[in-house]
């Protein structure tokens, strides 16, 4: 019986001693090696933005996109750490260890998610619902917000106090997104702090290539030449027509935030804004609006006045009085 107890004791002791090398050496993380993609998710989507144009209708540009979501994990080296013992001459500190690279062994670290969007080109010939209007992109993925589109973006901004317009855009498969169009005028000179005024993305006037930065020097305000053109000799009730205004800067300094507005008894005419901004010296700027006269128009002529203002106030000397014939 005593021999049996001794054997049991020695076995237990051997077991304890065998475990001793496991606490003296352990694995730990080493240098970062790479990220590995463990899973990739893709999703088709689209983007919409205001496109710079040379005509005076806002143009919405649609692009296909693929949205990639990468689930990644960081891979590190695996190191073996050994606690230093033995040599009494060697300096000892608490936690002194030796590390040995374990080749072929890798340590998996934290996971992360990374997204990437890849452009897929114009979203051509696709149907969208924009603020309740069904519209189709052309071969270049554009929708021109002209009179036929019904979007009335320019009309919306005819209210001088309006700074932005939200468009709710829906695609039957790819879902809904919002596009905010801004109309910032005047623009102030750039500062260190980013402000709304400095954001030129999706700005209506920037898209028209118009400069509405406020000038510091007063222009020669009397040296403007203003002309107007109609695309028809007579306007017809219920049929749209185009009014083109041409302003020539005959002074020696840029104009500043030049803006025109129509005033008329006719609701279809009054309030229409014409944007000119800064016209360099010796240059000419055109702006046009397509106007839909009221179907109930009974008069022989429509009277309208195009009045101007700039950064320095009103310009009554350049007011244009229009007498537009109406077809019976």
């Amino acid at each position: 019986m005593l021999h049996l107890n001794f054997r049991i004791i020695w076995a237990l002791l051997a077991l304890v001693l065998l475990q001793a090398p496991l606490t003296a050496q352990e694995k730990c993380r080493g240098n970062f090696l790479r990220s590995e993609i463990r899973k990739t998710e893709t999703r088709e989507q689209y983007d919409c933005a205001l496109k710079p144009v040379n005509v005076f209708f806002p143009c919405l540009q649609f692009k296909r996109q693929t949205h990639f979501t990468y689930h990644e994990i960081r891979i590190y080296e695996t190191l073996e750490r050994t606690i230093v013992e033995g040599d009494s001459n060697a300096p000892k500190t608490t936690g002194s260890s030796q590390y040995r690279l374990l080749p072929g062994e890798f340590w998996e670290g934290e996971s992360s998610i990374r997204s990437e969007i890849k452009e897929g080109g114009p979203f051509a010939n696709e149907t969208f619902l924009i603020n309740g209007k069904t519209l189709q992109t052309d071969a270049e993925g554009n929708i021109i917000a002209d009179a036929q589109s019904g979007l009335e973006i320019l009309d919306y901004f005819d209210n001088l106090n309006t700074r932005q317009l939200d468009l709710e855009i829906e695609h039957v498969l790819l879902g809904t997104r919002k596009l905010t169009i801004y109309r910032t005028m005047p623009r102030r000179a750039k500062t260190d702090e980013k402000t709304l005024d400095e954001n030129t993305v999706n700005d209506l006037l920037v898209a028209f290539n118009l400069d509405f930065y406020q000038r510091l020097t007063e222009p020669e305000r009397q040296k403007l030449k203003v002309e107007y053109f109609l695309n028809t000799l007579e306007i017809e009730p219920g049929k749209p027509f185009t009014l083109i205004i041409k302003v020539s800067n005959q002074g020696s300094r840029d104009t500043s935030c030049l803006l025109g507005r129509l005033f008329s008894r006719e609701p279809s005419l009054t309030g229409k804004l014409f944007y000119f901004g800064a016209i360099p010296s010796g240059k000419t700027q055109l702006f046009s609006r397509t106007i839909l006269p009221d179907a109930g128009l009974k008069v022989d002529h429509c009277f309208a006045a195009l009045a101007f203002s700039d950064s320095w106030g009103e310009l009554p000397q350049h007011q244009l009085n229009l007498k537009i014939p109406v077809k019976k």
Binding site: L160, R265, G296, K298, F308
Partner: protein, 337 residues
Amino acid sequence: MRFLFYVIIPFLAGSSFLSGQTGSDASNVAKVADLFKYEQEAHKSNAREYEKNLAGMSSLRQIPGDDAQAKECLRLGKNFRLLDSSIQNGRARQVELIGLINLMGENRSLLPQEVTYINHYRQKLKDIGTEQETMQEVLKSKLRELQKYLASIPPPRSFVSTCGLKMLLLGRSDQAFYISEMPVSEAVYQALSAFRQDGQQPCAALEQTPPQGNVSIDQAEEFCQGLSRFEGFPYSLPERKELAWAERQKLVPDIAVWCRSKWSPDWEELEAQKRFGISLYTVWDPRRVLNASQESGLSGELKNAAYPQLGFLVITPVRTGRQLRLQRLQAELLDMN
């Protein structure tokens, strides 16, 4: 009698009367007596006239009709002024007569009874003078009352101007005014234009023609200036409050008409007009002749606009009607006289 008086006074003043001859004294006293009697009678006549006109004034309110009352006011006013003038002249004569009597009193050759007579005449003349003074004060007060009463008589409900515009009374008390019953016609417009340009007087009876259209607000204002010069009273384009009265009284023109008020439907539009330095003027188009689908009868229009269906009404203050009535009644009174 007055002539006799003005002959005798200088005669007595410069004659042998002053030298105190006895034979002349008696005749002078007799003449003074005659003059005194004349003054007495004149005063009695004035007093009767005075009482009669005061009685007329107290029964003024019982007279039916505004025109009749106004005419009676004018008649009484004229009578009061004539009476006042008569009393004034009488007082002047009496002062001179008293002066003469005083001169006579210095003559020691007068008999005692002659002295008594002339002293009596002097006292009576002074009494008459006091009464006349009272009468004149009352007449002034009554004239002021008459003016107030005349002003309180309601203005005529309508009148026709010299160039043939029928003007109707609208509004109440301080805010009452006259407005033309119809938009100014082509005939009246052309006639006044000719008057403005070369002073050619319009015909007495202008034919009935359609309303004048194709006028801008500036042209309408010029017409009003010409009309004011021609009529001698102020005429102008109506403002919104006057057109509101016209609408309430169902005085609705068949065409659109100009309004002098500037157009400011909301603060945003007003701000835009200020920013661009432009003003629009109100047009009232109750029958929607300019735009059938227009919601409101009021709209803003540019001052240079002109349409065949856009004309104008004219207004004039209440005093025009009152003054014209007075002029007519005064002319009638003169004809009666």
